[in-house]
Structures are given as structure tokens and as C-alpha cells.
């Protein structure tokens, strides 16, 4: 049940089916994060993939660069209401990373993704597979800048952008779901922008 705000609506954005409910389009690329930007050296960068049984496979930057990567152009949607259409990235599909680790994903239904600095965010595993998620290291044809998550971040465009963990350093495969940083602080466990799943209970 809506409450009408008298006199509102004379300035409005044009309707655009690519913009999810409650979002507005921006040409800018706002930066939001919980704390200071880490500045990471690719010489010591590592991505840990951990299986349900605790087995760990560690990728160095060099190894990440050797995996098949692809260019992608996607729309991104931030829970703070902005959407940016047609963003260009280059990265490695998460599916290829999991294949390289050669883990049996049979008992794996969820993943908790970790970042340098302590951030984390959770997923049903299927939301990271196939054409749904990448570890990206280039934005707009240039190396990904630190304040946007460089040298590498997760990119999961079909969910709100807080799920696209900046400064990724781990993928923890799990049999059960465990809430990540923002999810524990009241944000939605799944985060589908088309269902407007911003917060707990939405």
C-alpha cells in the first residue's frame, strides 16, 4: 500500500526494462565499502578454494592468469539503488576455477566467498557456476583499480553488487549456508534485484 507524496513525480527517469524495481540508472561508478581500500601486490596474491572436506587448492596470480578468461558486458545493480548498464570486464569464470581445483562438488550446495580484510558473502553454489559468476581483473579494458576491488574481485551480475566481493581471496565450499558480512547485518541472504530482495524479510 503506497503513500502518495504530494507534488512528486514531475521529474522522472524514463522507464527502462533493464532497470530493476527501485533502482535508478547512473553513468558514474560509485564506490562503497565497509573500510579502507586494501592495496595488494599480485606477487603475493592468492586465492584459496576450500572443499567441504577441508582440502585446499591455492591459486597464485600467475596461475589465475593462465586460466581461460573471457570478456563480458553486463548490467550491475547496487543495493544502494544505482544501476550501471553495459559494464565491460575481463575475467575467469568461477566454473573454470573450480574445475582447476578438481574438487568433487557432490556434497557442496553453498559457497562462502572471502575477501582480503575479512569481508565475506554467501551463495547457493549454483549461483556461482556456468555463465553466472567470474573472478574479474580488468574493468573497461584496464587493470581493475583497487577502489573497485582490484587486483581481482568476484562478479555476480544477477545479484546485488554487495555479493560481488571485492579483493577476493577465498571460495569456501560448504554443505550448509552461512551468512556473510552484510547478510549478518540485515541484508537479504540471496539478493535478487528483480525481486527487490535488499534486506531481511523482503
Amino acid at each position: 500500500m503506497s503513500v502518495i507524496s504530494r507534488g512528486f513525480g514531475s521529474k522522472r527517469a524514463a522507464a527502462d526494462p533493464r532497470i530493476p524495481p527501485g533502482q535508478y540508472r547512473t553513468e558514474d561508478f560509485p564506490v562503497l565499502s565497509a573500510g579502507p581500500t586494501p592495496h595488494l601486490d599480485t606477487a603475493v596474491w592468492a586465492l584459496d578454494i576450500t572443499a567441504v572436506d577441508g582440502t585446499r587448492h591455492t591459486l597464485s596470480w600467475q596461475q589465475l592468469m593462465e586460466l581461460p578468461d573471457e570478456e563480458l558486458t553486463v548490467d550491475i545493480h547496487c543495493v544502494t539503488k544505482w544501476s550501471k548498464l553495459g559494464t565491460h570486464w575481463r575475467g575467469v569464470p568461477v566454473t573454470a576455477l573450480l574445475d582447476a581445483a578438481q574438487f568433487d562438488t557432490q556434497d557442496t550446495h553453498y559457497a562462502l566467498v572471502h575477501s582480503y580484510g575479512g569481508y565475506s558473502t554467501n551463495f547457493p553454489l549454483e549461483d556461482l557456476l556456468d555463465d553466472k559468476a567470474w573472478v574479474v581483473f580488468e574493468y573497461d579494458g584496464k587493470p581493475l583499480a583497487p577502489h573497485h576491488g582490484g587486483p581481482a574481485r568476484l562478479l555476480v551480475p544477477h545479484l546485488y553488487l554487495w555479493k560481488s566481493a571485492k579483493w577476493i581471496n577465498g571460495i569456501e565450499l560448504r554443505p550448509d549456508d552461512r551468512l556473510g558480512f552484510w547478510e549478518s547485518l540485515g541484508y537479504h541472504a540471496y539478493g535478487d534485484p528483480w525481486q527487490e530482495q535488499r534486506y531481511v524479510g523482503d
Binding site: S2, V3, I4, S5, R6, G7, F8, G9, K11, R12, A13, G22, Y24, D28, P30, V31, L32, S33, A34, G35, P36, T37, P38, H39, L40, D41, V44, D48, T50, G54, R56, T80, K81, W82, L112, H114, Y116, G117, G118, Y119, S120, N122, H147, N169, G170, I171, E172, R178, L179, F181, W182, E183, S184, L185, G186, R198, Y199, V200, G201, D202
Partner: protein, 274 residues
């Protein structure tokens, strides 16, 4: 910092202030957040382009300063727009204040600042943002660093500190472009004169007052205290808020000054889209 994090592993506890999954110890997961109806009771300009709105919100049970609300405006034909605003006031039942800067060509802020009259309504939900917040239960000193409209959530923290009567040392460093850009000018001046334990440094980036000892300019190392500068010599909990460029610079300088990254919480106001 890079040395520490290059050896961190996903399954080991991460040495930082950010919880390794799960809510802050002892606190349940917040939510849900139903939409509440708010009515404008009064408003006043803070600067030529920013206005404080006093909203009456039946069902609002208070917040921790630093948190924000999402507001929703709906037009007669059903068209709606949403934006987030930091709460400017200390916690209260049934009402709150927002300070809104007009974004030219914006969709929402011009309505709030120029069109909305007492008696008009909007919807809001919250309080949102469980990380960038302060409560009087926190005992370590607080260092607040705000640029431009980033002063809003920090002012809520300062107001809460005064309202709750605690003696926690507070140090606010507020960078505004010019004296005409200052929010809460009279209140800050009064607090500066009247409250022991509250230190306020007013800095200008573009032009200041004739007898300022610090020439106007961007935030630099000398503007910031070291972690043990507070009377208690306890490292403060640091909150930085403002445009992204300001926050990046301030966070970098704070770390250069010796503040640990896990003591620094940031809230960035990107160009908000209006």
C-alpha cells in the same frame, strides 16, 4: 597490511575487526524492515542548498547513529523512486531528522528540499547499516572524520553522545569547502565551547575565515591525530564519511598516521543520483 593479508587463508580466522561471518558477537541478525509512513513536521535550511527535515514516523523505535533510512516517494500515477539518507538526529521514538543536499538535475533531493511542505508524506524503512554505527555502550574514544555532507551521520553520533551523557572522548574533524558550506554551524560552535571531552576541528578545503591558522586545502597528515593522541592513549574507533575521493584520501592518511585498518569504518557518498 599487505603482508598480513597475503598469508590469510579462507578457513582461518581473519585478523581484522570485521566478523568472520555471523553477526557482531551477542547481536541477533537485524530485520525485517517494513515501510513506515513519515510526515514532514518542519524543515530549515542548513546552507543555501541543504535542508534538514524533521519527520514524524509513527512506529519508529529509534536507531544507532551512523545508520540510514531508505525513503520512497510515490507519485499520483504510481511511479516511485527510492533513495538512502543518513539519519542526522540522535535516537528517538517516533521521529527523526534527515539533512538532504540538493543534487542538481536530481529526481528526489529537489523534491525533498524545494517542494515538500509540512503535512506532506513519504515512506521510509530502517534503520539500515549495521556496520557504520556508534552506540554509547562503546567505551573507546571516537575519531570522526567528515567531508562535506559526510558530516550528517557523524553529527548523529555527536548528538547521541551528548544526549546519552557519556564521557567518551570524541574528536570530530570536519572538512567543508567554505564556511557557507557548513552544516550545523551554530550547534558545532556551541559544542566546541561547552563540552569537555568533545574536540572539533573545522577545516576548509577551498576558502576559510580570515583568522584561520590552517590555510584552506585538502586533508593532509598534519590534520590527523595519531592513535595514541587521545587523553586516554587508547586507540580510537575511527569513522570516515564523505565523497569517495575524500574517504580514500582520509583512510590512506589515517593508516599512514598509524591507525589500524580494522579500526576504520567508512561510509561513502558517491554521487547519489539525486
Amino acid at each position: 597490511m599487505t603482508e598480513t593479508h597475503s598469508t590469510s587463508r579462507a578457513t582461518e580466522p581473519v585478523a581484522s575487526g570485521i566478523p568472520d561471518g555471523g553477526p557482531p558477537v551477542g547481536e541477533p541478525r537485524p530485520g525485517p524492515f517494513p515501510w513506515l509512513t513519515a510526515e514532514l513536521r518542519g524543515s530549515w535550511m542548513e546552507t543555501r542548498t541543504a535542508k534538514t527535515l524533521l519527520l514524524s514516523v509513527p512506529g519508529w523505535t529509534g536507531h544507532d547513529p551512523g545508520q540510514h533510512v531508505d525513503i520512497k516517494l510515490t507519485a499520483e500515477d504510481g511511479y516511485a523512486a527510492q533513495r538512502s539518507y543518513s539519519i542526522a538526529s540522535a535516537s528517538a521514538q517516533g521521529w527523526l531528522q534527515l539533512t538532504v543536499e540538493t543534487v542538481s538535475n536530481g529526481e528526489v533531493s529537489p523534491y525533498l528540499v524545494e517542494t515538500m511542505d509540512p503535512g506532506d508524506k513519504l515512506q521510509l524503512r530502517g534503520p539500515l547499516g549495521g556496520w557504520f554505527r556508534w552506540t554509547e555502550r562503546l567505551t573507546e574514544p571516537a575519531l570522526l572524520v567528515g567531508g562535506g555532507s559526510g558530516i550528517v551521520p557523524l553529527m548523529a553520533m555527536l548528538r547521541q553522545r551528548i544526549q546519552s551523557g557519556v564521557a567518551t572522548p570524541f574528536h570530530l574533524i570536519y572538512m567543508a569547502r567554505t564556511p557557507d558550506h557548513l552544516f550545523y554551524a551554530n550547534e558545532l560552535y556551541t559544542l566546541m565551547q561547552s563540552h569537555a571531552g568533545v574536540t572539533i576541528d573545522q577545516l576548509y578545503s577551498r576558502s576559510g575565515l580570515p583568522d584561520d591558522s590552517r590555510p584552506p586545502g585538502r586533508l593532509n597528515l598534519d590534520d590527523l591525530p595519531t592513535p595514541t593522541a587521545e587523553p586516554s592513549a587508547v586507540a580510537p574507533r575511527v569513522y570516515v564519511c564523505g565523497p569517495t575521493g575524500f574517504v580514500e584520501n582520509a583512510a590512506r592518511l589515517l593508516q599512514a598516521r598509524g591507525h589500524q585498518s580494522d579500526t576504520i569504518r567508512t561510509e561513502r557518498f558517491g554521487p547519489s543520483g539525486g
